[in-house]
Symmetry: C2
Subunit: 470 residues, 2 copies
């Protein structure tokens, strides 16, 4: 059994937001696992959107005859609150089916009436139904080559422009929204296409998790800190469990025993909702477990929380982090452009590990036949000295982050200028501000969303003032 | 004989700058003719630069195994005035051999000592020696597909970043310079890669000559205005000569006579320098021609100025605007992304003409097997409502233009913000500010260059202040 199974488990708990809707979508490559997303494919959320398909150019940046190939890009629209000429709110889809992002971004639906806004969710190419080569889209590097962030941004630009023209609403201001990788896309879209979007709300967008801009250990240090904050004992139990795991694995019959232990999940009852504060809930189990038990057995017990939530028929696919369906989209992106090196420091609760670029690159070559371009994202989008650069050349971006989210460490956590601002909450999780408002929302969350609405209102007011009096 | 031969002639005169070095490089597609550039290939200017070649990625925006193909991109360096850590001035090469742009941009060499600047001239892919597929580069759409402005900008970004790293001078501020299409690239580079260039001097850069942003007749109206300004009679003679040309062409033997008239250029003597004010010189011949002569014969006489300058062995290749070498780079770009519709209004001195997009697109399909994407440049780089967009999201660009240059009408002629400024001179020609300073330079030109230097100095001062105290 690979320790990565544990990694995965602990990440789920730290990244999950406060409601059962939460579907974490954006994992570090080393711990990415498809089981979770597999479930998502089986059912679709009910959402108040109409589905459309846009004939999109496969390759925006070469002009070969073959590049005139088009594919059908899915997008969702809700116009029930829209007043013609009013703003258009666009969600820049990330690595998955667009319905899930629509379902998990209730914030946009909540604020649409106030703005009389049209809502548009655009699916990212090579995810969901937006497959340029149908079921062969993930077949090889030859098809996957067109899956990358620059092509995705150009898709958004072309689709938005066409949509505005079709609606005869060219002067409508467009604001882009995105969470996680979608948040990176939203921020980059505002920077690269300021003539198309007047502003961006980028929630939990780790645009600085590249090169050496953010320390490589920051992600797992942050995960560890979340556990430490919940319970120092819990942190120490988990930190100590790795040695026990190693010892057990080395014993004869040890692996069989581990497998047996994990398979008990088969017998668990129907799905329980994921607890509102999963890290705390997990630590509660660990802390309150029968005295004298091993660290490993405590961690196993806590894991049941996760299995119950997933309600998988089969049990956790141990020891193999690869998608049983073969190649997958995010792994491809991680192997080409989204190179985010991560390590575990000795301060973390994980076994210390380093990042070998050579090993990583060899794997990418083996799996996809491509060499990563580790410095490309920072060449294309920047990142170093971001304050100096963006205070002069950008505007109208909100970077919202919660410090409980380990990805926050790779995002923008300080105001850059009067209009490129950071909204940071101590207790926030991975793009929790994008969830639908509920009666249980804490004050800090209500306040964060209120600030976001106020800032977006300001962008829109300024835009109309400019075009009317400019 | 096609009227386009005359078009070409008149354009040369209006676009040529004030010195013999001037080598107009950027023609409207309809009048583009290779004869002029052909001459450029025969000899190379002597310039104080060292030649280097950079292994450049062929395709920055797809990650197919084939895209790992590299080509060698030429760039020129002069470090004689550079002080390590000092600024790097980069010329973003346009559609031709980079040596010519270096030779015609003496301004950068003139100001390098003051700034202790490193000078770099980067050749544009698919021009000069920077041929990704060697002599087969122009063979077909399959190879030419990689020739476009977005790939070119990415080339500049990758090369500059690598160069700074190799020089261990990562903190050096980079300022980009460009004239004509190179100026468009410089401006766009600052907008798209503000993390790489702190500012751009874009001379005679018609970034608004797309879609319907600038009236389609503005270019030829401006050419006509130049002639009208020189001499109303001259303007009227030229305007009237088309009818005579048509009448003569319709006569039996008329075409043969026209051909004979033009071929007299064979017997002309050695090359005369192009006059400092070619429009005026041409109009002088037209105005002072023997009384009673036809309009057509006056125009023919004036044309000798041009033939003398070109000193071609063969005579003007009449009636066929196509490059005898087959496909050429700029035509490809015009057929894909650089779609700049142009018409002749009845106010102009040219025969009225309209622009048929269908005809244009059909020709592109016939010649290259591709369909133009007429709205792509404005989708990728913007243009509409440029004041509103750039006053919020950009900074540090100088748009310099001379109103004698017909391209000026498609550029930015008004200040957009405190740091995106327009320097407009009434008498300036096509990027004349980029020429080496001479003792004969008029005050307005000296003044324009002084302003450019002051603004660039301000950008650099602010940059150092920011990184030292930011």
């Amino acid at each position: 059994m690979a320790p990565s199974s544990f990694f995965h488990l602990l990440l789920i708990f730290t990244m999950s937001a406060t409601t059962i809707e939460s579907m974490p979508t954006f994992f570090p490559r080393a711990t990415y696992h498809s089981s979770l997303l597999k479930q998502a494919k089986d059912s679709k959320p009910k959402i108040p959107y109409k589905t459309h398909y846009f004939p999109q150019l496969l390759d925006h940046f070469t002009f070969q005859p073959q590049s005139s190939k088009i594919f059908y890009q899915k997008y969702l629209i809700n116009n029930q609150y829209w007043r013609k000429g009013g703003p258009i709110f666009v969600y820049t889809g990330n690595e998955g089916e667009i319905e899930w992002f629509a379902a998990n971004t209730g914030f946009m639906l909540d604020i649409a009436p106030k703005f009389h806004a049209l809502l548009v969710f655009i699916e990212h190419r090579f995810y969901g139904e937006s497959m340029p080569f149908g079921k062969h889209s993930y077949k090889s590097a030859k098809t996957l080559g067109y899956l990358n962030s620059q092509q995705a941004l150009a898709d958004f630009a072309v689709l938005i422009r066409s949509l505005k023209q079709n609606l005869s609403s060219e002067a409508s201001p467009v604001v882009v929204f995105g969470g996680s990788y979608g948040g990176m896309l939203a921020a980059w879209f505002r920077l690269k296409y300021p003539h198309i979007a007047i502003g961006a709300l980028a929630s939990s967008a780790p645009i600085l998790q590249f090169d050496n801009i953010t320390p490589w250990s920051s992600f797992y240090d942050a995960v560890s800190q979340d556990y430490k904050d919940a319970s120092l004992n819990c942190y120490e139990v988990i930190k100590g469990s790795w040695a026990e795991l190693d010892a057990l694995s080395a014993q004869k019959q040890g692996l069989a025993e581990l497998s047996r232990t994990f398979r008990t999940c088969k017998n668990l009852k129907s799905m329980d909702p994921l607890p509102a504060y999963p890290v705390q809930a997990m630590c509660k189990i660990i802390d309150e477990f029968s005295p004298g038990a091993t660290k490993l057995s405590r961690v196993f017990a806590a894991a049941s929380l996760y299995y119950n939530y997933l309600q998988t028929e089969k049990c956790f696919d141990l020891g193999n982090g690869e998608d049983s369906h073969g190649l997958n989209g995010w792994d491809w992106q991680a192997c080409t452009e989204m190179v985010m090196p991560m390590t575990c420091s000795s301060e973390s609760m994980f076994p210390p590990s380093s990042f070998s670029y050579q090993e990583f690159a060899d794997n990418c070559m083996k799996n996809y036949g491509v060499a990563p371009r580790p410095h490309w994202i920072t060449t294309e989008f920047g990142g170093s000295r971001i304050e100096q650069v963006l205070k002069k050349s950008g505007s109208n971006i909100i970077f919202s982050n919660g410090m409980q989210d380990p990805w926050s460490r790779g995002s923008v956590l300080k105001n850059i200028s009067a209009s490129i601002v950071a909204l940071v909450t101590e207790k926030g999780a991975h793009h929790v501000d994008f969830r639908s408002a509920t009666k249980e929302d804490p004050d800090w969350l209500i306040n964060q969303r209120r600030q976001e609405v106020e800032i977006i209102q300001k962008w829109i007011d300024e835009y109309y003032k400019d075009i009317n009096h400019g």
